[in-house]
Symmetry: C2
Subunit: 218 residues, 2 copies
């Protein structure tokens, strides 16, 4: 954690390394070389070493990286060595799918509260969590120490709700509505856009690109 401005690509690759290390741990590897780690996620050894070098020296020359330790270090860097309290707003098609997504819980993202504006949904139960109404938003977010909000509402309501959420002091939002949302500079916002991925595939098909590419700009 020196002076640097770490690139988004590097951070995304850390997520890949974390996933590969989880598998390696399960397979009882004690150490792993940059080459093996790279192979598992379709990257290059040099990239692995360069990425890790931004954060310190974790390996042993001639031997490689200690699997368990490196995994913990990366978890630390990514901030997933702890539990994050998450609220999800909009318990519709995609919202209710996300509530059941085990990967989130496994990485420490604990969906603790659900909100919806639909009277028929308020009070209903999803995976043991009761859906709350929007009027209670601010108090509930505070009382439950929510730090992260997932937005799964229609595009037409998204900006209004983001404003509200930001007003409650939330600094990180994952948005699923396919729309550009405005937030203050100190709020982190990421937007998942699945249609965009399909469009990329469609472009690839009609242009018959010479080489496929998985993952989105690492």
């Amino acid at each position: 954690m020196r002076d640097r401005r770490i690139s988004e690509s590097t951070i995304h690759r850390l997520s890949h390394y974390y996933r590969a290390l989880t598998a390696l741990e399960r397979e009882h590897f004690d150490t792993v070389s940059s080459r093996e780690l790279a192979n598992r996620e379709e990257l290059t050894p040099a990239q692995v070493r360069k990425d890790l070098s931004f954060f310190g020296s974790f390996g042993t020359r001639g031997l490689g990286y200690p699997v368990k330790e490196l995994k913990e270090k990366i978890a630390r860097i990514l901030g997933i060595d702890r539990v994050w309290n998450v609220a999800l707003i909009g318990v519709g098609n995609i919202g209710s799918a996300l509530v059941s997504y085990k990967e989130f819980a496994r990485q420490g993202f604990n969906i603790k509260l659900l909100f919806d504006s639909d009277q028929r949904k308020i009070g209903s139960n999803h995976k043991g969590i009761t859906v709350l109404g929007m009027d209670d938003l601010e108090r509930q977010l505070n009382e439950n120490k929510i730090e992260l909000v997932i937005l799964a509402v229609p595009a037409s309501s998204a900006q209004v709700i983001v404003d509200h959420v930001v007003n409650c002091g939330i600094k990180a939002i994952l948005n699923f509505a396919p729309i550009k949302l405005a937030v203050p500079d100190d709020v982190f916002l990421r937007t998942e856009n699945m249609a965009m991925e399909l469009e990329y595939l469609s472009f690839s098909l009609v242009n018959n690109l010479p080489r496929r590419s998985d993952r989105k700009k690492t």
Copy 2:
């Protein structure tokens, strides 16, 4: 469509332009400047002009770009000026959410077939589409001229199914399982990884990055 190798970032930005142009059309604008287009999607005017210049000269100096025409041109480039027949495999939490996703249909991605291996799901109906069993896969994909497959099955079965799908001649796959899948070089594969986006937010929070960034590498 000259000689070039268009970057992934440029393609993703074309999707953004398309979205902005759709809105501009609805608002009855006839022309739009690179500045206005850039503002709407939080990009720079120079980038808009550079991106478009890879594909031709669509604007008029002193005036800007014709909204309707540019939108059509971009649809053409992205390959969304036609209907793509899509099959979805794995009608679980996320799979059934995706069936209801209107944005896909709106952009010409027509989810025509649903598959699942679960006996209880086979024969059931989602948005008017009957879920089929996996043994019928090859014949159905061929008969229905499916060109694109969405995979929403557990990570543990994903590779086996991809192999099967590739064997049926499918050249484009959108995968939701958080796992690295192997496909031949002539098959386009994209993997949506939502946990990765949350991890990026978590990293941002603990490292208090100086500036937020929406969208994934443009």
